[in-house]
Amino acid sequence: MSVDKKTVRKVARLARIAVPEEKLEPMAEELNGILNWIEQLNEVDIEDVEAMTTPVKMAMPMRDDVVTDGDIRDKVLANAPKTEDGFFVVPKVVE
């Protein structure tokens, strides 16, 4: 499989990363270099092999469904680029 300029543009859009037009071609080349190298995984027989999850089998820990945190509005907002009246300010979402 090989990616072209068009694919890079699409993937960059999916990843929400602005990639300048003149960088699409070089980026496609770089990605192809990496993807071609990754292709060697096709040599491995993975018939009847389960995907790895964890090296140490353990049950997912359970906890009581209770509130353990909260009432820290100002801390939550402290690093926001823009706030107003205790809210995050974001670009207009609905026209």
Partner: protein, 494 residues
């Protein structure tokens, strides 16, 4: 008085408890060193001098009491990789996208250190989001390795991603440091700087408050001046933590007790697949020396095979970018970090924020990750890679049926110069060829300095052990350390 910054952590803790010097004295000594060295070495990206001295005074008060609890690290000044959230102290993972992010909470790993009386000197340089093997991708510029080739003054990398941590430990700018390892980011810098680094079993150390890169691979661990120091640090850093559902719910062993126990009767595996074409002679020779040292101390050497080793790096470069593309989706410039508004629309704000905030290597990996997870490709890439991971783990499990630990080189070369490998991403990725297998299989891995190459640069040997058997790493690591008698220090040019 002896030079306080040159003490090992173990000796410093001893001196502090005997009141031979105060925490304020040893902390100030480190701050003085940092002030002198950091302009040349760029190990620290933030120095928290005031906080350090306040913590030191609190530790001194504790040490001065006749009764009461003295922490395991009481009064010891340490450095913290900029990947760990530290309350009230800027944490950026050395990325522009985090701007001046100042966490309102503390990571579990660092909280564990402070609970035991440690002193924080500051935050340490790293590759952006821990993505790199040379620490070249940091927004603050790279640190410089204290080690140089004999008779040359070319600036060498300290390795990555924990390059700042390794630099600080090697140059006596802290007694020990926290670091993290996703594909070799503790062990490769350790090998490049003549320091000791260990990544424990996946889940031993909590990932709460650690900036996420690839969640199924990320694991915290220390960089230290000796195997004993690494054991002291790791014991405190690890804990069962309900804030991280992948944290192992089991007690942390007393690893310090394994240091010096010896390797008599242990079976040590030597995997033939780690003998690579074109591997420098000096590394081949060092590996053989390591084998001879362990044999001389009573270990039995067994040849083993890990047939899927060559597929580890390609599998890693699917799994890690895929998980990163998901983890780093949170950086949208809305709730924290640096926002770039662009034309003002929501999509353009996202795209400009991320296009300007992420560096080239991070963007490259996010695009790979997004691509391999995009519609129609999941089975061909991510699922296949996760199955290859199972094969790699099975290789290890069958080897560990016959041996207690594995001995390998830590890196395929000594430290290299900046820019030497940055043109070709794949060539850079090959740095982690010996370390990445332990991440994929979730196993403990340690790098121990064992000798110098023909240019006078340090080289490391790696010990890999069974899941949950860090004890074996500490036993074998200490045996190698003792036999190697590695006392070389970088010449102080900085």
């Amino acid at each position: 008085m002896t030079n306080l910054t040159q003490l090992t952590l173990a000796d410093a803790l001893d001196g502090l408890r005997k009141r031979q010097f105060s925490s304020r004295e040893i902390t100030q000594a480190h701050l003085d060193e940092i002030e002198k060295a950091n302009p040349n070495l760029n190990a620290y990206v933030a120095v928290t001098a005031e906080k350090a001295l306040a913590m030191a005074d609190a530790a001194d008060a504790q040490l001065g009491k006749t009764k009461g609890k003295v922490g395991k690290l009481e009064g010891a000044p340490l450095g913290v990789k900029d990947l760990f959230c530290t309350e009230g102290v800027r944490t950026t993972a050395c990325s522009n996208i985090l701007g001046e992010f100042t966490p309102p909470y503390e990571s579990t790993v660092t909280q564990n250190l402070w609970d035991q009386g440690a002193v924080m000197l500051g935050k340490l340089n790293m590759d952006e989001f821990a993505m790199g093997s040379a620490n070249e991708t940091s927004r603050f510029g790279p640190p410089t390795n204290p080690w140089r080739r004999e008779g040359a003054n070319t600036k060498l990398t300290s390795g990555g991603s924990s390059g700042g941590s390794a630099t600080a430990v090697a140059a006596d700018l802290c007694l020990a440091a926290t670091a993290s390892d996703t594909g070799g980011s503790i062990r490769q810098p350790a090998a490049f700087t003549g320091t000791v680094g260990i990544k424990p079993t996946y889940g031993r150390a909590s990932r709460y408050g650690m900036v996420a890169f690839a969640s199924s691979l990320d694991q915290a661990g220390p960089l230290a001046k000796s195997v004993m120091d690494a054991a002291i640090m790791l014991e405190v850093m690890c804990s069962a933590d309900e804030k991280d559902s992948t944290s192992l719910q089991m007690p942390v062993p007393n690893w310090t007790k394994s240091v010096g126990k010896g390797v008599k009767g242990m079976k040590i595996g030597v995997p033939k697949e780690y003998r690579m074409d074109g591997m420098p002679d000096s590394i081949e020779k060092l590996w053989q020396k390591g084998i001879d040292w362990l044999k001389a101390q009573g270990a039995e050497i067994v040849d083993v095979s890990l047939p899927h080793t060559k597929y580890a790096l390609p599998a890693y470069y699917i799994v890690a970018p895929a998980e990163a593309s998901s983890n780093l989706a949170r950086y949208d410039g809305m709730r924290y970090g640096a926002r770039q508004t662009g034309s003002g629309s929501l999509t353009d704000t996202y795209e400009q924020t991320r296009g300007q905030g992420f560096g080239a290597e991070v963007q490259r990996r996010l695009l790979i990750g997004t691509y391999v997870l995009s519609a129609g490709y999941y089975d061909a890439y991510y699922l296949r890679a996760q199955k290859v991971r199972t094969k790699i783990l099975q290789d290890f499990e069958s080897a560990f049926g016959a041996v207690d630990a594995l001995l390998t080189p830590a890196t395929p070369s000594a430290a290299f110069a900046y820019g030497e490998k940055s043109d070709d991403p794949v060539a850079m990725y090959l740095n982690d060829v010996f370390t990445v297998t332990a991440n994929l299989a979730g196993l403990p891995g340690m790098s121990v300095p064992a000798g110098l190459d023909e240019n006078g640069l340090p080289l490391g040997l790696q010990v890999i052990s069974k899941a949950l058997d860090e004890d074996a790493c500490f036993k074998v690591g200490a045996a190698l350390e003792e036999a190697a008698g590695f006392t070389a220090r970088p010449e102080r040019w900085w």
